[in-house]
Subunit: 319 residues, 2 copies
């Protein structure tokens, strides 16, 4: 049975719910953990450890992404990366995603399919499959993604940091914020930063490696480094000091700082959306590849930067 | 630390993201399957069978619910019931839910908390806990719920019906559609139907019981009986005939049919939102309590009603 060709002007309403579902199902390859994939009332996924790890993220057009600032595929990658990163931060491995998509009926079908392609491609980086979801109409594009997976061993929580531990970071930080600042001014370069905003590159191996190296606490940095390290400090009941001299100021960050008249360290300390991991390790731990020490843990509470209260922009909050 | 009192005029913006999260966390009791609950990057839930069953539903204000037609608690019950019913339809047991809530900043905080209460109360009916979620601002209220659980044995799929099987139904059907029709005309009675629309009562034990009795295929009836039995028939590659004389026309359905000048059988055949289960069983199976034979399975394709093509309204589709 052939379906009508989908062109740039085909809308979701043209394609219909079941037409869209059929197009989506063809795109979602099912990995080895999937026992029942899309198409039934529910999916079934193997959980070898008998303990499933789960996290949900909701991303809204105009708040988390703009269709004029990134391609649908890029937005799919971002949506999936934000969600997969939560499992990474537990030291886990993602196996399956479900996608809830609410969208206006006049949304171009190619946009929804591009979003799906981006999500599936990002999930494939870690071996995870899109196993199901739900489609409905709404005034605004809202994407809800839930990731399932497991941890081979004990999950690393936010609450285990101890005074004397070292704070370390894995992955890029500040690049996406730099890219967002550039886009906000109507520019498209430095290209590396804009690309980092459009399609983050979370360090997916870093979470399990940190767990195996004995990380005492870990968090996904999504809302801002100071803000998220603050959440880790609060959950652990400790004080954390971040040392700015630990950061290499990458050339594109220096360039955008100069161009916008901003201290590029503000992108690193306040920026979100890159999805690096921050974790604490007992002093003397040999940090796994890709992890860099950026601070210290002490008795007390709150986060300081170079020993002082951080006066920069707070992390992102909703409402 | 005391938080400011929440009044009817307190908005989500007044409460703030973390204030709302704190209020929500207090409401969500954690059941025995929950190993790590809300507050970390991800939750961890026990899956005794090593196979997690997962389903996602998205409900949108103005499409799936109206704030002037039902209380927030009722809408929470409905949202959770729609989702829990998907696990019921696999013959499974739900253990955990995640909730993604996108809402306007001026939404009354009591509405969001009422929604959460309703979801948690419905989940508690089956012993499931709300283990996490995500909150964000949007122009319109969108609720995305994901349910996790497991099946003690083999999941019952949509695709196993065989010619010669009996089609059976467990749970109320047509009541919510009757209630919706009443509300759509500006009435508030018959109260039983309006209540059925506002707060469905899925037969949560019926799914596992059907599985144990040897059900060959099963589906949650959410979009309309003919439509959903049609999905089951298509997945199984069989023809199904529904026998209208098998249905008892409950008194409130007769009353609303008379009041609106409609054949009440149309609510049963076309209506959704009650979340009964439809399942097929080998001929001669002693049906579990609560299951009523309503049709027969034969070779062929499609659904007929009393041997004829059904000309009533089709099931609900999006876009």
């Amino acid at each position: 049975m052939s379906t009508p060709a989908i062109t740039a002007t085909t809308t979701l309403a043209d394609l219909g719910e079941f037409g869209l579902i059929a197009e989506l199902a063809r795109r979602f390859a099912q990995g080895e953990h999937v026992l029942i994939g899309p198409g039934d009332d529910a999916a079934v996924v193997a959980v070898p450890t008998g303990r499933v790890v789960v996290s949900t993220d909701v991303l809204v057009e105009g708040r988390h992404f703009r269709r004029d600032w990134a391609e649908a595929e890029d937005i799919g990658h971002r949506v999936a990366a934000a969600n997969l990163s939560d499992l990474n931060a537990m030291g886990g491995v993602a196996t399956a995603l479900t996608i809830g998509l609410a969208a206006p009926p006049d949304l171009p079908a190619v946009w929804a399919l591009g979003l799906a392609d981006g999500i599936a491609d990002e999930a494939a980086l870690v071996g995870a499959s899109v196993v199901g979801g739900d489609l409905t109409s709404a005034d605004q594009v809202v994407v809800a993604v839930t990731v399932l997976g497991y941890v081979d061993g004990e999950p690393v929580r936010r609450s285990g940091a101890q005074p004397g531990d070292v704070l370390a970071l894995a992955g890029r930080q500040g690049w996406a914020a730099g890219g967002l600042a550039v886009l906000g001014r109507g520019f498209r370069s430095p290209r590396k930063l804009v690309d980092a905003y459009r399609r983050p590159e979370p360090p997916y191996d870093a979470g399990p490696q940190a767990r195996m190296a004995g990380a005492t606490a870990m968090i996904d940095v999504s809302d801002g480094l100071v803000a998220d390290v603050g959440h880790l400090a609060a959950a652990s009941g400790v004080a954390i000091d971040i040392t700015t001299s630990a950061f290499e100021l990458a050339e594109p960050l220096q360039a955008v700082g100069a161009a916008l008249g901003a201290d590029p360290m503000r992108f690193i300390l306040g920026g979100g959306d890159d999805h690096p991991l921050a974790a604490t390790f007992p002093a003397g731990t040999a940090l796994p590849d890709g992890w860099v020490a950026i601070g210290t843990v002490a008795q007390g509470e709150g986060v300081t930067v170079d020993g002082a209260t951080y006066e920069g922009p707070a992390g992102h909050t909703h409402f």
